[in-house]
């Protein structure tokens, strides 16, 4: 959506124009949902978080000072919605991952294996760590945008990103050291 058009829609929506808000929401909903799925690793929870974020956006839109900052502001609301949802549910679904058994290694390319490893590593992180990585590497947020979305100082955003990368690296290394015989791994946090 062209920037000027979006800013105009934001101004109208801030004045209570629901149709203008519907256009903005339709333009953002897929991206918000995909981000929530990356953060929560759960389609149903992501649906709920996306709904929540959009309703909060409507409710709090008058407090948005700069219409050009709509996207960063929406992601901040989405992150809050994800945190609240987790707090409400306050548990991870137990996830069973069947490790490949000896002789049953599927014929997968190294690229696929790499994806699996990143996927498992991300699942081992805390919500806060995973959120930081999703915002930085999925949405491509700068340190400033990251700070804005997480509602923290820029310095804190930098260090949080650094530690999240370290944590992912450690999780992947731990995965490398895991026995390659069959077994089940479950986790509840």
């Amino acid at each position: 959506m062209e920037r000027g058009v979006q800013a105009d829609l934001v101004r109208r929506a801030k004045r209570g124009d629901r149709e203008a808000f519907a256009v903005l929401a339709a333009g953002s909903v897929d991206r918000l949902y995909a981000t929530a799925r990356h953060i929560l690793r759960d389609a149903e929870l992501a649906e709920e978080a996306t709904q929540d974020a959009l309703v909060r956006a409507w409710r709090d839109l008058p407090s948005l000072r700069d219409p050009d900052r709509l996207d960063a502001w929406l992601y901040r609301l989405l992150v809050r919605a994800c945190v609240d949802l987790r707090r409400r549910v306050r548990r991870w679904r137990t996830e069973l991952t069947v490790l490949p058994g000896e002789g049953s290694e599927p014929d997968r390319t190294s690229e696929l294996a790499d994806r699996d490893q990143i996927e498992r590593g991300l699942r081992r992180l805390s919500d806060a760590q995973r959120t930081t990585l999703v915002l930085a590497f999925y949405l491509g947020f700068s340190h400033g945008e990251l700070a804005e979305a997480l509602d923290i100082p820029v310095g804190t955003a930098k260090s949080r990103l650094h530690y999240a990368i370290q944590a992912l690296r450690a999780a992947i290394e731990a995965d490398d050291r895991a026995p390659s015989v069959g077994g089940r791994e479950g986790r509840t946090a």
Binding site: Y33, E44, T50, L54, L61, F137, Y138, H162
Partner: protein
């Protein structure tokens, strides 16, 4: 390339190659339907900002405001100005009389109308064919909802209510559903009473849920439960009440939950539930 840079490169590749997920259509529809009944918060800070003023103009504005405030204060203190025909504090303008607004839970399999209580702000959780959730934002602290009313089409019980994969246990009526609840481990049924909702006989009871155990980690007593009752809802002190009624051959459970102090919520929840009218 350092180890961290390698991880960053792999992460970028991971997200780039992941198939993009599109939100199901009902997510947007549901959100837009919710904002139809949600008012915007007023931006109280706006009048106090000086976005374009600086230096002398700002000083002049502040000085002018101070002079006006001082003058009004002086007039009030000395009894100056026109005599007021009304008592102190009385407002000459008419207060708007709140009128109840009827809303329709159209996404629910058994659509019903309801009236939102005037004294509490209510928004919505998931709303679909088997569940329609009302909740009070910030009732558990900033950003946290702790008070809920959930209407649920139960679809029967579960042979094993501790397992989400358990087979269905048919329940013929609201009363059968209440009797079934008494057999569920980690649930105690107390304070049973008769109620009337939408002119229909209903059975109401207070539930005490126990925290998850090794034998019963997931508590999902109704067949339409997509997930177990979350542990915070099974903590001691949580208020849980269920009202069960039959609507044209289908048993509907109306759960009232409060994970924090609930005295006001029960009153408002009763007002909300009392307004339910199932469409025929």
């Amino acid at each position: 390339m350092t180890a961290n840079q390698d991880i960053e490169r792999r992460l970028v590749a991971f997200f780039e190659t992941e198939p993009s997920a599109r939100a199901p259509g009902w997510v947007l529809e549901s959100a837009l339907s919710t904002i139809e009944t949600t008012s915007q918060r007023r931006d109280l800070l706006a009048p106090w900002r000086f976005p374009t003023m600086n230096g002398l103009p700002r000083l002049a504005a502040v000085t002018m405001a101070a002079v006006i405030v001082g003058a009004v204060g002086f007039l009030l203190a000395t009894g100056g100005g026109s005599p007021s025909p009304t008592a102190p504090g009385a407002s000459p303008t008419k207060r708007p009389v709140p009128t109840p607004s009827f809303f329709t839970a159209s996404t629910f399999g058994r659509p019903f109308t309801y009236v939102l209580p005037a004294d509490v702000q209510i928004d919505y959780g998931p709303r679909n064919a088997t569940s329609f959730e009302f909740r009070v934002p910030d009732s558990g602290g900033p950003g946290v909802s702790a008070w809920f009313v959930v209407a649920q089409a139960i679809g029967g019980g579960r042979e094993n209510p501790c397992s989400l994969t358990s087979t269905a246990l048919p329940l013929a009526s609201a009363q059968a559903a209440l009797e079934y609840l008494k057999t569920v481990p980690t649930v105690a049924v107390k304070s049973e009473s008769a109620a009337v909702i939408d002119g229909r006989d209903a059975s109401s009871a207070v539930l005490t849920l126990s925290p998850g155990t090794v034998d019963c980690p997931n508590l999902a007593f109704w067949m339409t439960d997509a997930e177990g009752v979350p542990d915070p809802f099974r903590d001691p002190g949580v208020y849980a009440r269920v009202a069960l009624l039959d609507v044209d051959g289908e048993t509907i459970a109306i759960h009232t939950w409060a994970t924090s102090q609930a005295s006001d919520w029960v009153r408002w929840a009763d007002e909300l539930i009392g307004s339910f009218h199932f469409q025929r």
